[in-house]
Symmetry: C2
Subunit: 317 residues, 2 copies
Protein backbone atom coordinates (compact mmCIF):
# COMPACT_ATOMS: atom_id res chain seq x y z
CA UNK A 1 0.00 0.00 0.00
CA UNK A 2 1.24 3.45 -0.86
CA UNK A 3 0.27 6.45 1.23
CA UNK A 4 0.36 9.94 -0.20
CA UNK A 5 0.29 13.35 1.49
CA UNK A 6 -2.94 15.29 1.81
CA UNK A 7 -3.48 19.01 1.34
CA UNK A 8 -3.60 19.28 5.13
CA UNK A 9 -0.12 17.71 5.29
CA UNK A 10 1.18 20.45 3.01
CA UNK A 11 -0.41 23.18 5.11
CA UNK A 12 1.11 21.60 8.23
CA UNK A 13 4.49 21.35 6.51
CA UNK A 14 4.34 25.04 5.70
CA UNK A 15 3.69 25.99 9.32
CA UNK A 16 6.52 23.67 10.42
CA UNK A 17 9.20 24.93 8.02
CA UNK A 18 8.27 28.65 7.86
CA UNK A 19 10.70 29.74 10.57
CA UNK A 20 13.59 28.04 8.80
CA UNK A 21 13.20 28.64 5.07
CA UNK A 22 13.19 31.70 2.84
CA UNK A 23 9.87 32.96 1.53
CA UNK A 24 11.29 33.31 -1.96
CA UNK A 25 10.27 36.14 -4.30
CA UNK A 26 7.96 35.81 -7.31
CA UNK A 27 9.34 37.58 -10.39
CA UNK A 28 8.07 38.36 -13.89
CA UNK A 29 9.88 39.56 -16.99
CA UNK A 30 8.65 41.86 -19.75
CA UNK A 31 10.56 40.07 -22.52
CA UNK A 32 9.29 36.64 -21.45
CA UNK A 33 5.71 37.90 -21.24
CA UNK A 34 5.99 39.59 -24.65
CA UNK A 35 7.45 36.44 -26.22
CA UNK A 36 4.89 34.04 -24.79
CA UNK A 37 1.82 36.27 -24.82
CA UNK A 38 1.15 35.14 -21.27
CA UNK A 39 1.71 36.57 -17.81
CA UNK A 40 4.27 34.25 -16.28
CA UNK A 41 5.07 34.35 -12.56
CA UNK A 42 8.29 32.65 -11.53
CA UNK A 43 8.61 31.34 -7.97
CA UNK A 44 12.35 31.71 -7.49
CA UNK A 45 13.59 28.84 -5.34
CA UNK A 46 17.07 29.76 -6.54
CA UNK A 47 16.97 32.15 -3.56
CA UNK A 48 16.06 29.32 -1.16
CA UNK A 49 18.50 28.00 1.52
CA UNK A 50 21.31 26.03 -0.14
CA UNK A 51 20.11 27.52 -3.45
CA UNK A 52 17.30 25.05 -4.19
CA UNK A 53 13.71 24.07 -3.30
CA UNK A 54 15.12 20.87 -1.78
CA UNK A 55 15.56 22.79 1.49
CA UNK A 56 11.78 22.69 1.91
CA UNK A 57 11.34 18.92 1.82
CA UNK A 58 14.46 18.19 3.83
CA UNK A 59 13.51 20.72 6.51
CA UNK A 60 10.01 19.27 6.77
CA UNK A 61 11.44 15.76 7.16
CA UNK A 62 13.99 16.79 9.79
CA UNK A 63 11.54 18.84 11.86
CA UNK A 64 8.84 16.13 11.66
CA UNK A 65 10.98 13.76 13.73
CA UNK A 66 10.33 13.27 17.44
CA UNK A 67 13.28 14.14 19.66
CA UNK A 68 14.39 10.55 20.30
CA UNK A 69 14.47 9.70 16.58
CA UNK A 70 16.08 13.00 15.66
CA UNK A 71 18.88 12.35 18.15
CA UNK A 72 19.98 9.30 16.15
CA UNK A 73 20.37 11.45 13.02
CA UNK A 74 19.28 11.31 9.39
CA UNK A 75 20.76 9.66 6.31
CA UNK A 76 20.27 9.94 2.57
CA UNK A 77 22.00 9.04 -0.69
CA UNK A 78 22.14 12.14 -2.88
CA UNK A 79 25.27 14.03 -3.74
CA UNK A 80 23.17 16.83 -5.25
CA UNK A 81 20.91 19.48 -3.77
CA UNK A 82 18.93 17.06 -1.55
CA UNK A 83 22.11 15.88 0.20
CA UNK A 84 23.15 19.47 0.87
CA UNK A 85 19.61 20.35 1.96
CA UNK A 86 19.39 17.47 4.43
CA UNK A 87 22.81 18.35 5.83
CA UNK A 88 21.72 21.97 6.22
CA UNK A 89 18.41 21.11 7.91
CA UNK A 90 20.05 18.60 10.27
CA UNK A 91 22.69 21.12 11.28
CA UNK A 92 19.98 23.69 11.92
CA UNK A 93 18.19 21.27 14.25
CA UNK A 94 21.52 20.26 15.82
CA UNK A 95 21.42 16.60 14.81
CA UNK A 96 23.74 14.38 12.77
CA UNK A 97 23.41 13.76 9.05
CA UNK A 98 25.15 11.21 6.86
CA UNK A 99 25.17 11.38 3.08
CA UNK A 100 26.05 8.22 1.15
CA UNK A 101 28.07 9.17 -1.92
CA UNK A 102 29.53 7.05 -4.73
CA UNK A 103 33.34 6.97 -4.76
CA UNK A 104 33.17 8.52 -8.24
CA UNK A 105 31.36 11.69 -7.09
CA UNK A 106 33.04 15.01 -7.95
CA UNK A 107 35.24 16.37 -5.14
CA UNK A 108 33.40 19.69 -5.19
CA UNK A 109 30.10 18.00 -4.35
CA UNK A 110 31.71 16.06 -1.51
CA UNK A 111 33.26 19.27 -0.20
CA UNK A 112 29.85 20.99 -0.37
CA UNK A 113 28.20 18.28 1.71
CA UNK A 114 30.96 18.37 4.32
CA UNK A 115 30.80 22.16 4.44
CA UNK A 116 27.07 21.87 5.09
CA UNK A 117 27.99 19.82 8.16
CA UNK A 118 27.25 16.24 7.12
CA UNK A 119 29.38 13.12 7.40
CA UNK A 120 30.18 11.50 4.03
CA UNK A 121 30.12 7.71 3.64
CA UNK A 122 31.42 6.29 0.36
CA UNK A 123 29.96 3.39 -1.61
CA UNK A 124 30.31 1.85 -5.05
CA UNK A 125 28.58 3.57 -7.97
CA UNK A 126 25.48 1.40 -8.21
CA UNK A 127 21.94 1.89 -6.97
CA UNK A 128 22.18 -1.36 -4.99
CA UNK A 129 25.39 -0.34 -3.23
CA UNK A 130 23.95 3.06 -2.43
CA UNK A 131 20.79 1.60 -0.90
CA UNK A 132 22.71 -1.05 1.01
CA UNK A 133 25.01 1.57 2.53
CA UNK A 134 22.05 3.69 3.63
CA UNK A 135 20.21 0.64 5.00
CA UNK A 136 23.29 -0.29 7.02
CA UNK A 137 23.32 3.10 8.71
CA UNK A 138 19.62 2.80 9.47
CA UNK A 139 20.13 -0.68 10.97
CA UNK A 140 23.34 -0.02 12.89
CA UNK A 141 22.89 3.53 14.09
CA UNK A 142 19.10 3.78 14.07
CA UNK A 143 19.29 6.75 11.69
CA UNK A 144 16.19 7.98 9.86
CA UNK A 145 16.34 7.54 6.08
CA UNK A 146 15.08 10.52 4.06
CA UNK A 147 14.69 9.68 0.37
CA UNK A 148 15.21 12.57 -2.09
CA UNK A 149 11.64 12.30 -3.41
CA UNK A 150 9.97 9.00 -2.45
CA UNK A 151 8.95 10.27 0.98
CA UNK A 152 5.68 11.89 2.05
CA UNK A 153 7.40 14.38 4.34
CA UNK A 154 9.64 15.47 1.49
CA UNK A 155 6.76 15.73 -1.01
CA UNK A 156 4.67 17.76 1.44
CA UNK A 157 7.62 20.09 2.01
CA UNK A 158 8.20 20.62 -1.70
CA UNK A 159 4.50 21.44 -2.12
CA UNK A 160 4.91 24.53 0.05
CA UNK A 161 6.57 26.45 -2.81
CA UNK A 162 3.35 26.23 -4.85
CA UNK A 163 1.37 27.15 -1.74
CA UNK A 164 3.29 30.42 -1.40
CA UNK A 165 3.00 31.11 -5.12
CA UNK A 166 -0.78 30.67 -4.97
CA UNK A 167 -1.01 32.90 -1.92
CA UNK A 168 0.88 35.62 -3.76
CA UNK A 169 -0.63 35.47 -7.26
CA UNK A 170 -4.37 35.10 -7.58
CA UNK A 171 -6.28 33.68 -10.55
CA UNK A 172 -3.51 31.52 -11.97
CA UNK A 173 -4.74 29.37 -14.87
CA UNK A 174 -1.77 27.01 -14.90
CA UNK A 175 0.98 25.99 -12.48
CA UNK A 176 4.09 24.29 -13.87
CA UNK A 177 7.09 22.55 -12.32
CA UNK A 178 10.01 20.57 -13.71
CA UNK A 179 9.80 16.77 -13.48
CA UNK A 180 12.64 14.50 -12.38
CA UNK A 181 11.90 11.96 -9.62
CA UNK A 182 8.56 13.66 -9.15
CA UNK A 183 8.85 15.00 -5.60
CA UNK A 184 8.41 18.62 -6.60
CA UNK A 185 5.69 17.99 -9.17
CA UNK A 186 3.80 15.74 -6.72
CA UNK A 187 3.90 18.38 -4.01
CA UNK A 188 3.00 21.10 -6.50
CA UNK A 189 0.02 19.11 -7.79
CA UNK A 190 -1.34 18.29 -4.34
CA UNK A 191 -0.92 21.87 -3.12
CA UNK A 192 -2.46 23.42 -6.21
CA UNK A 193 -5.41 21.07 -6.59
CA UNK A 194 -5.99 21.24 -2.83
CA UNK A 195 -6.38 24.97 -3.10
CA UNK A 196 -8.28 25.13 -6.38
CA UNK A 197 -9.08 22.06 -8.45
CA UNK A 198 -9.68 24.19 -11.55
CA UNK A 199 -6.06 25.27 -11.89
CA UNK A 200 -4.23 23.09 -14.40
CA UNK A 201 -0.95 21.55 -13.22
CA UNK A 202 1.61 20.64 -15.85
CA UNK A 203 5.06 19.09 -15.54
CA UNK A 204 7.99 19.99 -17.80
CA UNK A 205 10.68 17.47 -18.68
CA UNK A 206 13.73 17.46 -20.96
CA UNK A 207 13.28 15.20 -24.00
CA UNK A 208 16.54 13.50 -23.07
CA UNK A 209 15.01 12.20 -19.82
CA UNK A 210 11.37 11.81 -20.82
CA UNK A 211 10.59 8.75 -18.68
CA UNK A 212 7.97 10.77 -16.82
CA UNK A 213 6.29 11.85 -20.05
CA UNK A 214 6.23 8.25 -21.32
CA UNK A 215 4.94 6.97 -17.97
CA UNK A 216 2.17 9.55 -18.00
CA UNK A 217 1.18 8.84 -21.61
CA UNK A 218 1.10 5.07 -21.30
CA UNK A 219 -0.07 4.74 -17.70
CA UNK A 220 2.81 2.35 -17.09
CA UNK A 221 5.69 3.57 -14.97
CA UNK A 222 9.05 3.70 -16.78
CA UNK A 223 11.45 2.73 -14.01
CA UNK A 224 14.69 2.74 -15.95
CA UNK A 225 16.08 5.35 -18.25
CA UNK A 226 19.43 6.39 -19.72
CA UNK A 227 19.23 10.17 -19.51
CA UNK A 228 20.96 12.54 -21.94
CA UNK A 229 20.34 16.03 -20.64
CA UNK A 230 22.15 18.93 -19.02
CA UNK A 231 19.31 19.07 -16.49
CA UNK A 232 21.23 17.14 -13.85
CA UNK A 233 18.40 17.43 -11.34
CA UNK A 234 15.91 15.73 -13.68
CA UNK A 235 17.70 12.50 -14.58
CA UNK A 236 15.91 10.23 -12.09
CA UNK A 237 12.75 8.21 -12.67
CA UNK A 238 9.42 8.37 -10.88
CA UNK A 239 8.87 6.14 -7.85
CA UNK A 240 5.61 4.23 -7.52
CA UNK A 241 4.43 6.89 -5.10
CA UNK A 242 5.19 9.91 -7.28
CA UNK A 243 3.89 8.04 -10.36
CA UNK A 244 0.58 7.51 -8.59
CA UNK A 245 0.25 11.09 -7.46
CA UNK A 246 1.18 12.51 -10.84
CA UNK A 247 -0.90 10.24 -13.05
CA UNK A 248 -3.88 10.66 -10.71
CA UNK A 249 -3.77 14.44 -10.34
CA UNK A 250 -1.56 16.22 -12.84
CA UNK A 251 -3.11 17.45 -16.12
CA UNK A 252 -0.22 16.98 -18.53
CA UNK A 253 3.51 16.49 -18.97
CA UNK A 254 5.24 18.45 -21.74
CA UNK A 255 8.80 18.03 -22.98
CA UNK A 256 11.42 20.34 -24.45
CA UNK A 257 14.59 19.85 -26.48
CA UNK A 258 18.01 20.56 -25.01
CA UNK A 259 18.39 23.57 -27.32
CA UNK A 260 15.22 25.11 -26.02
CA UNK A 261 16.15 24.36 -22.42
CA UNK A 262 19.34 26.37 -22.98
CA UNK A 263 17.44 29.17 -24.77
CA UNK A 264 14.92 29.35 -21.92
CA UNK A 265 17.73 29.41 -19.36
CA UNK A 266 19.51 32.26 -21.10
CA UNK A 267 16.31 34.23 -21.60
CA UNK A 268 15.51 33.89 -17.89
CA UNK A 269 18.99 35.12 -16.88
CA UNK A 270 18.69 38.10 -19.23
CA UNK A 271 15.13 39.08 -18.51
CA UNK A 272 14.85 38.33 -14.79
CA UNK A 273 18.54 38.98 -13.97
CA UNK A 274 18.78 35.81 -11.92
CA UNK A 275 21.11 32.82 -11.92
CA UNK A 276 19.18 29.58 -12.37
CA UNK A 277 20.24 26.04 -13.17
CA UNK A 278 19.26 24.13 -16.34
CA UNK A 279 16.86 21.90 -14.39
CA UNK A 280 14.57 24.93 -13.89
CA UNK A 281 13.97 25.40 -17.57
CA UNK A 282 11.87 22.65 -19.23
CA UNK A 283 8.53 24.35 -18.41
CA UNK A 284 9.40 27.67 -20.08
CA UNK A 285 11.25 25.83 -22.86
CA UNK A 286 8.17 23.73 -23.63
CA UNK A 287 6.07 26.91 -23.82
CA UNK A 288 8.65 28.48 -26.14
CA UNK A 289 8.48 25.50 -28.47
CA UNK A 290 4.70 25.66 -28.65
CA UNK A 291 3.90 22.54 -26.63
CA UNK A 292 1.35 24.43 -24.60
CA UNK A 293 -0.97 27.29 -25.48
CA UNK A 294 -0.58 29.95 -22.81
CA UNK A 295 -1.62 33.07 -24.76
CA UNK A 296 -3.66 35.39 -22.53
CA UNK A 297 -3.21 33.12 -19.52
CA UNK A 298 -1.67 33.56 -16.08
CA UNK A 299 0.97 30.90 -15.54
CA UNK A 300 3.03 30.14 -12.42
CA UNK A 301 6.35 28.32 -12.86
CA UNK A 302 8.49 26.98 -10.04
CA UNK A 303 12.20 27.62 -10.64
CA UNK A 304 14.03 24.88 -8.79
CA UNK A 305 17.47 26.27 -7.98
CA UNK A 306 20.51 28.32 -8.84
CA UNK A 307 23.51 26.05 -8.27
CA UNK A 308 25.47 26.24 -11.52
CA UNK A 309 29.11 26.15 -12.50
CA UNK A 310 29.77 29.68 -13.77
CA UNK A 311 32.79 28.41 -15.71
CA UNK A 312 30.64 26.13 -17.87
CA UNK A 313 27.56 27.93 -19.13
CA UNK A 314 25.63 25.87 -21.64
CA UNK A 315 25.30 28.63 -24.28
CA UNK A 316 29.07 28.89 -24.53
CA UNK A 317 31.02 26.43 -26.60
CA UNK B 1 26.18 79.17 -8.63
CA UNK B 2 25.50 75.49 -8.22
CA UNK B 3 22.34 74.28 -6.54
CA UNK B 4 22.13 70.84 -5.00
CA UNK B 5 19.14 68.73 -3.96
CA UNK B 6 18.00 68.69 -0.33
CA UNK B 7 16.83 65.70 1.69
CA UNK B 8 13.28 66.99 1.18
CA UNK B 9 13.83 66.82 -2.60
CA UNK B 10 14.74 63.14 -2.27
CA UNK B 11 11.65 62.40 -0.17
CA UNK B 12 9.52 64.23 -2.76
CA UNK B 13 11.21 62.32 -5.59
CA UNK B 14 10.35 59.06 -3.84
CA UNK B 15 6.67 59.97 -3.57
CA UNK B 16 6.71 61.04 -7.23
CA UNK B 17 8.32 57.92 -8.69
CA UNK B 18 6.88 55.25 -6.37
CA UNK B 19 3.96 54.33 -8.68
CA UNK B 20 6.33 53.77 -11.60
CA UNK B 21 9.43 52.04 -10.29
CA UNK B 22 10.13 48.69 -8.68
CA UNK B 23 10.75 48.58 -4.93
CA UNK B 24 13.77 46.36 -5.41
CA UNK B 25 14.64 43.61 -2.93
CA UNK B 26 17.49 43.71 -0.41
CA UNK B 27 19.51 40.48 -0.37
CA UNK B 28 22.33 39.05 1.74
CA UNK B 29 24.63 36.10 1.17
CA UNK B 30 26.12 33.69 3.71
CA UNK B 31 29.40 33.29 1.82
CA UNK B 32 29.90 37.03 1.42
CA UNK B 33 29.15 37.64 5.09
CA UNK B 34 31.49 34.83 6.15
CA UNK B 35 34.29 36.16 3.93
CA UNK B 36 34.02 39.78 5.02
CA UNK B 37 33.06 39.27 8.67
CA UNK B 38 30.33 41.86 8.15
CA UNK B 39 26.60 41.78 7.54
CA UNK B 40 26.22 43.15 4.02
CA UNK B 41 22.82 44.14 2.63
CA UNK B 42 22.66 44.52 -1.13
CA UNK B 43 20.01 46.82 -2.60
CA UNK B 44 19.44 45.08 -5.93
CA UNK B 45 18.74 47.71 -8.58
CA UNK B 46 19.46 44.99 -11.13
CA UNK B 47 15.74 44.24 -10.67
CA UNK B 48 14.79 47.85 -11.41
CA UNK B 49 12.95 48.87 -14.63
CA UNK B 50 15.31 48.62 -17.64
CA UNK B 51 17.69 46.68 -15.35
CA UNK B 52 19.35 49.63 -13.62
CA UNK B 53 18.94 52.35 -10.92
CA UNK B 54 18.96 54.92 -13.75
CA UNK B 55 15.19 54.41 -14.02
CA UNK B 56 14.82 56.30 -10.72
CA UNK B 57 16.52 59.54 -11.77
CA UNK B 58 15.04 59.53 -15.27
CA UNK B 59 11.52 58.92 -13.93
CA UNK B 60 11.90 61.72 -11.39
CA UNK B 61 13.05 64.11 -14.12
CA UNK B 62 10.25 63.17 -16.52
CA UNK B 63 7.48 63.36 -13.92
CA UNK B 64 8.81 66.64 -12.50
CA UNK B 65 7.96 68.45 -15.75
CA UNK B 66 4.82 70.54 -16.06
CA UNK B 67 2.47 69.42 -18.81
CA UNK B 68 3.44 72.10 -21.32
CA UNK B 69 7.16 71.33 -21.01
CA UNK B 70 6.58 67.60 -20.99
CA UNK B 71 4.64 67.87 -24.24
CA UNK B 72 7.76 69.09 -26.04
CA UNK B 73 9.66 65.99 -24.98
CA UNK B 74 13.00 65.16 -23.34
CA UNK B 75 16.50 64.68 -24.73
CA UNK B 76 19.77 63.23 -23.46
CA UNK B 77 23.10 61.96 -24.75
CA UNK B 78 23.75 58.54 -23.23
CA UNK B 79 23.73 55.32 -25.17
CA UNK B 80 23.89 53.37 -21.91
CA UNK B 81 21.40 52.76 -19.11
CA UNK B 82 20.43 56.44 -18.70
CA UNK B 83 19.36 56.68 -22.35
CA UNK B 84 17.23 53.56 -22.03
CA UNK B 85 15.83 54.81 -18.70
CA UNK B 86 14.84 58.20 -20.10
CA UNK B 87 13.22 56.52 -23.11
CA UNK B 88 11.31 54.22 -20.79
CA UNK B 89 10.12 57.00 -18.45
CA UNK B 90 9.07 59.23 -21.37
CA UNK B 91 7.09 56.42 -22.95
CA UNK B 92 5.42 55.76 -19.63
CA UNK B 93 4.34 59.39 -19.40
CA UNK B 94 3.37 59.36 -23.08
CA UNK B 95 5.86 62.00 -24.24
CA UNK B 96 8.65 62.02 -26.81
CA UNK B 97 12.27 61.24 -26.05
CA UNK B 98 15.36 61.72 -28.19
CA UNK B 99 18.70 60.12 -27.42
CA UNK B 100 21.79 61.57 -29.09
CA UNK B 101 24.16 58.74 -29.93
CA UNK B 102 27.62 58.75 -31.54
CA UNK B 103 27.73 57.15 -34.99
CA UNK B 104 30.21 54.63 -33.57
CA UNK B 105 27.78 53.27 -30.92
CA UNK B 106 27.15 49.52 -30.95
CA UNK B 107 24.06 48.51 -32.97
CA UNK B 108 22.65 46.59 -29.99
CA UNK B 109 22.59 49.73 -27.84
CA UNK B 110 20.87 51.69 -30.60
CA UNK B 111 18.31 48.93 -30.98
CA UNK B 112 17.72 48.95 -27.22
CA UNK B 113 17.00 52.67 -27.18
CA UNK B 114 14.62 52.39 -30.14
CA UNK B 115 12.89 49.41 -28.54
CA UNK B 116 12.39 51.50 -25.41
CA UNK B 117 10.52 53.96 -27.63
CA UNK B 118 12.97 56.81 -28.17
CA UNK B 119 14.08 58.53 -31.36
CA UNK B 120 17.81 58.20 -32.06
CA UNK B 121 19.80 61.17 -33.41
CA UNK B 122 23.36 60.49 -34.50
CA UNK B 123 26.38 62.74 -33.95
CA UNK B 124 30.15 62.53 -34.22
CA UNK B 125 32.02 60.76 -31.44
CA UNK B 126 33.18 63.78 -29.44
CA UNK B 127 31.81 65.39 -26.29
CA UNK B 128 31.43 68.69 -28.15
CA UNK B 129 29.39 67.16 -30.99
CA UNK B 130 27.20 65.32 -28.49
CA UNK B 131 26.46 68.46 -26.52
CA UNK B 132 25.87 70.51 -29.66
CA UNK B 133 23.38 67.97 -30.99
CA UNK B 134 21.46 67.96 -27.72
CA UNK B 135 21.53 71.78 -27.50
CA UNK B 136 20.14 71.99 -31.02
CA UNK B 137 17.15 69.85 -30.06
CA UNK B 138 16.58 71.99 -26.98
CA UNK B 139 16.73 75.18 -29.07
CA UNK B 140 14.72 73.99 -32.08
CA UNK B 141 12.12 71.75 -30.51
CA UNK B 142 12.02 73.17 -26.98
CA UNK B 143 12.88 69.77 -25.57
CA UNK B 144 13.99 69.39 -21.96
CA UNK B 145 17.58 68.23 -21.54
CA UNK B 146 18.13 65.59 -18.86
CA UNK B 147 21.82 65.03 -18.15
CA UNK B 148 22.80 61.52 -17.01
CA UNK B 149 24.08 62.77 -13.64
CA UNK B 150 24.62 66.55 -13.61
CA UNK B 151 20.97 67.28 -12.85
CA UNK B 152 19.30 67.80 -9.47
CA UNK B 153 16.18 65.91 -10.50
CA UNK B 154 18.29 62.94 -11.53
CA UNK B 155 20.42 63.04 -8.37
CA UNK B 156 17.33 63.21 -6.16
CA UNK B 157 15.83 60.25 -8.01
CA UNK B 158 18.97 58.14 -7.63
CA UNK B 159 18.95 58.90 -3.89
CA UNK B 160 15.67 57.04 -3.46
CA UNK B 161 17.44 53.67 -3.67
CA UNK B 162 19.37 54.47 -0.46
CA UNK B 163 16.14 55.76 1.09
CA UNK B 164 14.44 52.40 0.57
CA UNK B 165 17.51 50.53 1.81
CA UNK B 166 17.55 52.61 5.02
CA UNK B 167 13.82 52.05 5.51
CA UNK B 168 14.32 48.31 5.19
CA UNK B 169 17.53 47.74 7.17
CA UNK B 170 17.95 49.54 10.46
CA UNK B 171 21.23 50.38 12.22
CA UNK B 172 23.46 50.40 9.16
CA UNK B 173 27.00 51.57 9.99
CA UNK B 174 28.07 52.21 6.40
CA UNK B 175 26.32 52.76 3.05
CA UNK B 176 28.34 52.26 -0.14
CA UNK B 177 27.70 52.98 -3.82
CA UNK B 178 29.84 52.80 -6.97
CA UNK B 179 31.26 56.08 -8.30
CA UNK B 180 31.25 57.13 -11.96
CA UNK B 181 29.84 60.55 -12.80
CA UNK B 182 28.66 60.79 -9.21
CA UNK B 183 24.88 60.95 -9.64
CA UNK B 184 24.22 57.80 -7.64
CA UNK B 185 26.81 58.51 -4.95
CA UNK B 186 25.55 62.11 -4.60
CA UNK B 187 21.97 60.96 -4.18
CA UNK B 188 23.05 58.17 -1.82
CA UNK B 189 25.04 60.59 0.32
CA UNK B 190 22.28 63.18 0.56
CA UNK B 191 19.64 60.54 1.35
CA UNK B 192 21.75 58.76 3.94
CA UNK B 193 23.08 61.82 5.76
CA UNK B 194 19.62 63.38 5.62
CA UNK B 195 18.25 60.41 7.48
CA UNK B 196 21.12 59.82 9.89
CA UNK B 197 24.31 61.87 9.78
CA UNK B 198 26.18 59.21 11.77
CA UNK B 199 26.06 56.63 9.00
CA UNK B 200 29.28 56.65 6.99
CA UNK B 201 28.89 56.93 3.20
CA UNK B 202 31.67 55.56 1.04
CA UNK B 203 32.09 55.43 -2.73
CA UNK B 204 33.76 52.57 -4.57
CA UNK B 205 35.66 53.13 -7.81
CA UNK B 206 37.74 50.94 -10.11
CA UNK B 207 41.46 51.81 -10.02
CA UNK B 208 41.39 52.15 -13.80
CA UNK B 209 38.97 55.10 -13.56
CA UNK B 210 40.01 56.61 -10.24
CA UNK B 211 39.40 60.27 -11.14
CA UNK B 212 36.82 60.47 -8.33
CA UNK B 213 39.27 59.08 -5.78
CA UNK B 214 41.94 61.57 -6.88
CA UNK B 215 39.47 64.45 -6.89
CA UNK B 216 38.37 63.56 -3.37
CA UNK B 217 41.94 63.16 -2.05
CA UNK B 218 43.29 66.40 -3.51
CA UNK B 219 40.16 68.52 -3.28
CA UNK B 220 40.67 69.48 -6.92
CA UNK B 221 38.23 68.04 -9.46
CA UNK B 222 39.86 65.80 -12.07
CA UNK B 223 37.78 66.60 -15.15
CA UNK B 224 39.53 64.43 -17.69
CA UNK B 225 40.50 60.83 -17.49
CA UNK B 226 41.42 57.96 -19.81
CA UNK B 227 39.60 55.04 -18.20
CA UNK B 228 40.78 51.44 -18.36
CA UNK B 229 38.11 49.35 -16.69
CA UNK B 230 35.41 46.82 -17.51
CA UNK B 231 33.05 48.92 -15.39
CA UNK B 232 31.52 50.68 -18.38
CA UNK B 233 29.10 52.61 -16.20
CA UNK B 234 31.91 54.18 -14.17
CA UNK B 235 34.14 55.70 -16.86
CA UNK B 236 32.85 59.27 -16.62
CA UNK B 237 34.22 62.09 -14.45
CA UNK B 238 32.51 64.09 -11.73
CA UNK B 239 30.71 67.29 -12.69
CA UNK B 240 31.21 70.40 -10.57
CA UNK B 241 27.88 69.66 -8.94
CA UNK B 242 28.56 66.04 -8.01
CA UNK B 243 32.15 66.96 -6.99
CA UNK B 244 30.76 69.52 -4.55
CA UNK B 245 28.19 67.16 -3.07
CA UNK B 246 30.63 64.31 -2.70
CA UNK B 247 33.60 66.23 -1.29
CA UNK B 248 31.29 68.05 1.09
CA UNK B 249 29.33 65.09 2.42
CA UNK B 250 30.83 61.70 1.61
CA UNK B 251 33.25 60.11 4.10
CA UNK B 252 35.66 58.32 1.79
CA UNK B 253 36.29 56.92 -1.69
CA UNK B 254 37.96 53.51 -1.94
CA UNK B 255 39.28 51.84 -5.08
CA UNK B 256 39.64 48.25 -6.25
CA UNK B 257 41.71 46.49 -8.91
CA UNK B 258 40.10 45.01 -12.01
CA UNK B 259 40.90 41.49 -10.72
CA UNK B 260 39.04 42.13 -7.51
CA UNK B 261 36.11 43.70 -9.35
CA UNK B 262 35.78 40.46 -11.32
CA UNK B 263 36.18 38.32 -8.17
CA UNK B 264 33.50 40.35 -6.39
CA UNK B 265 31.18 40.06 -9.40
CA UNK B 266 31.55 36.30 -9.55
CA UNK B 267 31.13 35.88 -5.79
CA UNK B 268 27.92 37.92 -5.93
CA UNK B 269 26.51 35.80 -8.77
CA UNK B 270 27.35 32.59 -6.89
CA UNK B 271 26.25 33.62 -3.44
CA UNK B 272 23.19 35.78 -4.20
CA UNK B 273 22.19 33.97 -7.44
CA UNK B 274 21.74 37.24 -9.29
CA UNK B 275 23.05 38.66 -12.56
CA UNK B 276 24.83 41.98 -11.96
CA UNK B 277 27.08 44.10 -14.16
CA UNK B 278 30.75 44.86 -13.39
CA UNK B 279 29.93 48.48 -12.48
CA UNK B 280 28.15 47.19 -9.35
CA UNK B 281 31.27 45.66 -7.90
CA UNK B 282 33.94 48.18 -6.77
CA UNK B 283 32.43 48.56 -3.25
CA UNK B 284 32.53 44.83 -2.43
CA UNK B 285 35.84 44.46 -4.28
CA UNK B 286 37.40 47.22 -2.17
CA UNK B 287 36.21 45.47 1.00
CA UNK B 288 37.65 42.17 -0.28
CA UNK B 289 41.04 43.76 -0.84
CA UNK B 290 41.08 45.23 2.67
CA UNK B 291 40.63 48.88 1.80
CA UNK B 292 37.95 49.23 4.43
CA UNK B 293 37.49 47.55 7.81
CA UNK B 294 33.94 46.26 7.98
CA UNK B 295 34.34 43.41 10.51
CA UNK B 296 31.34 43.26 12.83
CA UNK B 297 29.59 46.07 10.97
CA UNK B 298 26.31 46.35 9.08
CA UNK B 299 26.98 47.58 5.56
CA UNK B 300 24.51 48.51 2.81
CA UNK B 301 25.71 48.38 -0.80
CA UNK B 302 23.75 49.64 -3.80
CA UNK B 303 24.04 47.28 -6.77
CA UNK B 304 23.57 49.42 -9.85
CA UNK B 305 22.27 47.10 -12.56
CA UNK B 306 22.18 43.77 -14.35
CA UNK B 307 22.67 44.54 -18.03
CA UNK B 308 25.55 42.30 -19.08
CA UNK B 309 26.52 40.41 -22.21
CA UNK B 310 26.16 36.76 -21.21
CA UNK B 311 28.50 35.75 -24.03
CA UNK B 312 31.40 37.70 -22.55
CA UNK B 313 31.70 37.07 -18.85
CA UNK B 314 34.85 38.63 -17.44
CA UNK B 315 36.05 35.54 -15.55
CA UNK B 316 36.17 33.57 -18.78
CA UNK B 317 39.14 33.94 -21.11
Amino acid sequence: MITIPTYADILAAHERIKPHIVRTPVLSGDAINALTGAEIFFKCESFQRIGAFKARGATNAVYSLDDATAKRGVVTHSSGNHGAALAWAAKRRGINAVVVVPESAPRTKIANIRRAGAEVVFCESTAAAREAAAAKLVAERGMEFVHPYDDNRVIAGQGTAALELLEEVSDLDIVMAPLGGGGLLSGTTLATKGRDANIRVIGGEPEGANDGFRSFQTGVRVAENVPHTICDGLRTCLSERTFNIITGNTDAIVTATEDNVVRAMRLTWEDLKIVIEPSCCPPLAAIMEGKLDVRGKKVGIILTGGNVDLDKLPWQT
